[in-house]
């Protein structure tokens, strides 16, 4: 990996974050609603509105507010929440682990389901299990996570009583119970992605199997197993990695909805309530953080490509 490549990536990262932050700031100055009238509620008087606006620095011009917010971002506090009167960093520190744990669990689930299943279905293409799974996969893909979330809650919670709906346990209280509670939400977000990943992998393996190098490998006396694991999989996995990278970022954003369904007090819940309260230091920080995670994931995917496939490495460095 050379330095120009890293530098290019870092500059594009900074630019994207800046643009995201600016757009969110802009959006808030356009949409109706105002943090000051929201905070004062039915006790707003013109004098109190003016006083609070000054106290929060909202009476300053747009660009100055943006620059001052960037300052608070750079010093690491991310500014103060209007609703909670504490630094945004302290709020995110408690919430980010929840959302990330859930997303990572979902991601592991996808790997555990899609890789063995995709290979199995490719090897047994056209068989009865393959046909059944094709139908099942199509069905699962059609289920949006919030809906499967509701179904899982009903089935495991209210019928089997294996799961306490809304009984979220903080990781500060008990880590196993925290993880236990996150299993079903993780399953809900993982299922459609796992079905897609399975299809991708199967299709990709089948496509590779038709290539000339496979015939060559066979002619050199390799077994199907040897060809598959020794040659085909390495090539077939590349498009799947692209998909998994997209799925991961998609799931971080998608967790916002699933957190509502399962009453999980993660980043998503905080984001929604902060938008409703026009608490924009919090919204800014979360959106920028999500953007950062998306970019970071894409960067990670690039790195993995280079590890898996030397051809990409040389192409990138040219």
């Amino acid at each position: 990996m050379n330095l120009t490549y890293v530098l290019k990536k870092v500059i594009s990262l900074m630019f994207t974050l800046l643009l995201t932050a600016f757009l969110v700031f802009l959006a808030f100055s356009v949409i109706p609603g105002d943090p000051v009238t929201t905070m004062l509620g039915t006790q707003a008087t013109p004098e109190k509105v003016a006083a609070l606006r000054e106290e929060l620095g909202l009476d300053r011009p747009f660009l100055i507010r943006f620059v001052s917010w960037m300052g608070s971002f750079l010093d690491g506090t991310f500014g103060n929440s209007y609703s909670y009167h504490v630094t945004v960093r302290s709020m995110l520190a408690g919430k980010l682990p929840i959302t990330l744990t859930m997303t990572c669990m979902a991601f592991v689930l996808i790997l555990l389901i899609a890789i063995p299943l995709g290979i199995f279905l490719a090897r047994n293409s056209g068989s009865i299990p393959d046909r059944i799974m094709t139908v099942v996969n199509q069905t699962i893909m059609a289920f949006p996570p919030f809906f499967s979330g509701i179904l899982l809650t009903l089935f495991f919670g209210l019928i089997l009583h294996l799961f306490k709906p809304g009984g979220y346990v903080s990781y500060t209280t008990s880590v196993p119970r925290f993880l236990g509670y996150l299993i079903l939400p993780a399953v809900a977000i993982a299922l459609p992605k796992a079905a897609m990943a399975t299809n991708y992998l199967k299709a990709s393996v089948l496509k590779e199997m038709k290539k000339d190098y496979v015939r060559t490998a066979y002619s050199r006396g390799n077994t199907t197993k040897g060809v598959l694991y020794g040659h085909v999989l390495k090539n077939a996995i590349i498009p799947v990695i692209t998909f998994l990278g997209m799925a991961f970022t998609d799931m971080i954003a998608g967790s916002i909805i699933i957190e509502q369904v399962f009453s999980i007090p993660g980043i998503g819940r905080l984001l929604i309530s902060s938008i409703a309260n026009r608490d924009y230091p919090v919204v800014e920080a979360i959106v920028v953080l999500l953007a950062f995670l998306v970019i970071l994931t894409n960067f990670g995917v690039d790195l993995i490509y280079r590890l898996v496939d030397p051809r990409i490495r040389s192409a990138m460095e040219e």
Binding site: A44, L162, P165, G167, S170, S273
Partner: protein, 503 residues
């Protein structure tokens, strides 16, 4: 080799799942006294009682803070931080003696200095409307001894005592926004944004007869209304207030349902400053055309108290039940009035409703249906709460809205002051010189009967002028797990957790 690895992997995964799910299922409530109460929104304004503006915040802070006096569940004012008080004969000088044994949650004793400090903060005009105007009447606050506070008013006001429910906080608390220290039965322990707020009973609470029964209270924020019933039935919360009748019908047999009122003036508020609502005939026509009983039947399972002016029934002597029948539903009469006002074919207007309050949305829908009969088309415009506050309440840029207005204290002034033509809370732009005179008379009156009569005159004017279309004080259905008992309704928008106990 491969098979072995796969088997190992599978067994690890399965064990983890089993342990985790087992941990979930084994999550039984411990028998120590604690309760988890669901609340629809977090405290999003401040823990500082002076800056708390949302009704949802104030009803929680009621358990943490107390004033010199506090309301009881019958609406009487009882001594709290003060053990007794004297009001001079001409009604201007209030002398309070503080309790000997009263302590703040941080262990320090309550001194007269703390009281003076707290009241002066309010008097500085940072606080709510009605309170700020009442406190502007204070001439002097002093602390002649460590346990005595004397308040001298500029003019006598028999309502003044009800404003002294304003919280007393310690002068030493440098950051009341995030650290809540009061004298109430529960003390603030911790919070996690959008997750929960934890309170614990205060061992040194002064009122040993009404000491809190339940040790630990977890207020769990349930922002998604669709999951409330699931969480009640699943056992992750034990109590929830202000449920709809549909939600109540889905509850399991583990729950007792308490029925009370919300203590709100729900109305179709009209912007009196704009056409066609600046014409009293149009406003009256709407009153005749809208049938509150029909709204109750359609949207509230027939429950709720119909009102005809800006005061609800639990206000006792101030409430005028006869006004509820001032505009009996009469389509012909409504059409006549509309024709007189120059709208023989009706007109089109919009009802702006905050989308997060389903009862108000439902009400608006029934109203729109009812108005079709007189040829009026009402379009419903759903907005976010933040937008409602900035555009409708503060900006007054709207035609009509359905909302419930609450009272911060049990004085009719708390509900009626906002109809004064220059009041900042007069979002309906009501303007009547006769009303301004009547409310002045009510607020300056020393004699209680004269005062009550003057307030009633105010209510009469609101009804005659059809300031808005008054509908009801909504029913309040509270679900409480039958492991607990003792839920008590107040005539104000508060929750008293100290009365809850295990069966």
């Amino acid at each position: 080799m491969k098979k072995k690895r796969l088997a190992l992997l599978l067994s690890v995964v399965l064990t983890t799942v089993a342990v985790a799910l087992g941990g979930c299922a084994g999550d039984k409530q411990e028998s120590t006294s604690q309760i988890t109460i669901g609340i629809p929104q977090d405290i999003e304004d401040s823990l500082d009682p002076m800056k708390a503006t949302a009704a949802g915040t104030k009803e929680i802070l009621f358990n943490i803070y107390e004033g010199l006096v506090k309301p009881d569940s019958d609406g009487n004012l009882i001594p709290a931080v003060a053990s007794e008080y004297k009001i001079s004969e001409e009604g201007r000088v209030y002398t309070f003696t503080l309790r000997e044994d009263i302590k703040f949650h941080d262990g320090s004793s309550v001194t007269a200095d703390d009281v003076v400090y707290s009241l002066e903060r309010y008097a500085d005009g940072q606080s709510g409307d009605a309170l700020a105007s009442a406190f502007s009447n204070i001439d002097d606050i002093s602390a002649p001894t460590d346990k005595t506070v004397v308040i001298v008013l500029k003019e006598a006001n028999t309502d003044f005592l009800s404003y002294l429910t304003a919280a007393v906080i310690p002068k030493s608390n440098a950051d009341p926004d995030t650290v809540a220290i009061g004298t109430g039965p529960y003390r603030y322990v911790s919070r996690s944004p959008q997750e929960n707020i934890i309170l614990e009973s205060f061992d040194d609470y002064w009122d040993k007869d009404n000491a809190p029964q339940i040790k630990k209270i977890t207020l769990k924020i349930i922002a998604n209304a669709d999951t409330i019933v699931t969480e009640l039935n699943g056992g992750s919360i034990d109590m929830f207030c202000r449920l709809s009748s549909t939600q109540v019908s889905q509850l399991s047999s583990d729950y007792n349902v308490y029925t009370g009122t919300m203590n709100l003036v729900q109305a179709l508020y009209l912007n009196n400053a704009i056409e066609p609502f600046n014409d009293v005939r149009v406003r009256q026509a709407l009153c005749y055309a809208i049938d509150p009983q029909g709204i109750l039947d359609m949207a509230f399972d027939g429950q709720g108290s119909i009102i005809g002016s800006a005061v609800y029934p639990t206000f006792g002597k101030y409430y005028m039940p006869e006004l509820a029948d001032a505009y009996p539903t009469n389509i012909e009469k409504a059409k006549e009035l509309l024709a007189e006002a120059g709208y023989p074919d009706g007109f089109t207007f919009s009802i702006t409703v905050p989308s997060n309050y389903q009862p108000h949305v439902d009400t608006a829908q029934v109203i729109a249906e009812q108005l079709k009969e007189v040829g009026i088309t009402a379009n419903i415009n759903l907005v976010e709460w933040a937008t409602w506050l900035s555009d409708v309440y503060s900006g007054r840029q709207y035609e009509t809205t359905v909302i419930g207005v609450d009272a911060s204290m049990l004085s009719a002034g708390a509900l009626l002051d906002r109809y004064r033509s220059d009041a900042s809370g007069n979002f309906m732009n009501f303007n009547s010189p006769a009303y301004d005179a009547a409310i002045d008379a009510a607020e300056s009156s020393v004699d209680d009967d004269a005062k009550t009569a003057a307030y009633k005159q105010c209510e009469q004017i609101i009804s005659d002028e059809a300031a808005s279309v008054y509908i009801q004080d909504m029913v309040n259905l509270v679900a409480l797990n039958n492991k607990y008992e003792g839920y008590v309704f107040y005539p104000l928008y508060v929750q008293d957790f100290a009365k809850l106990r295990l069966k």
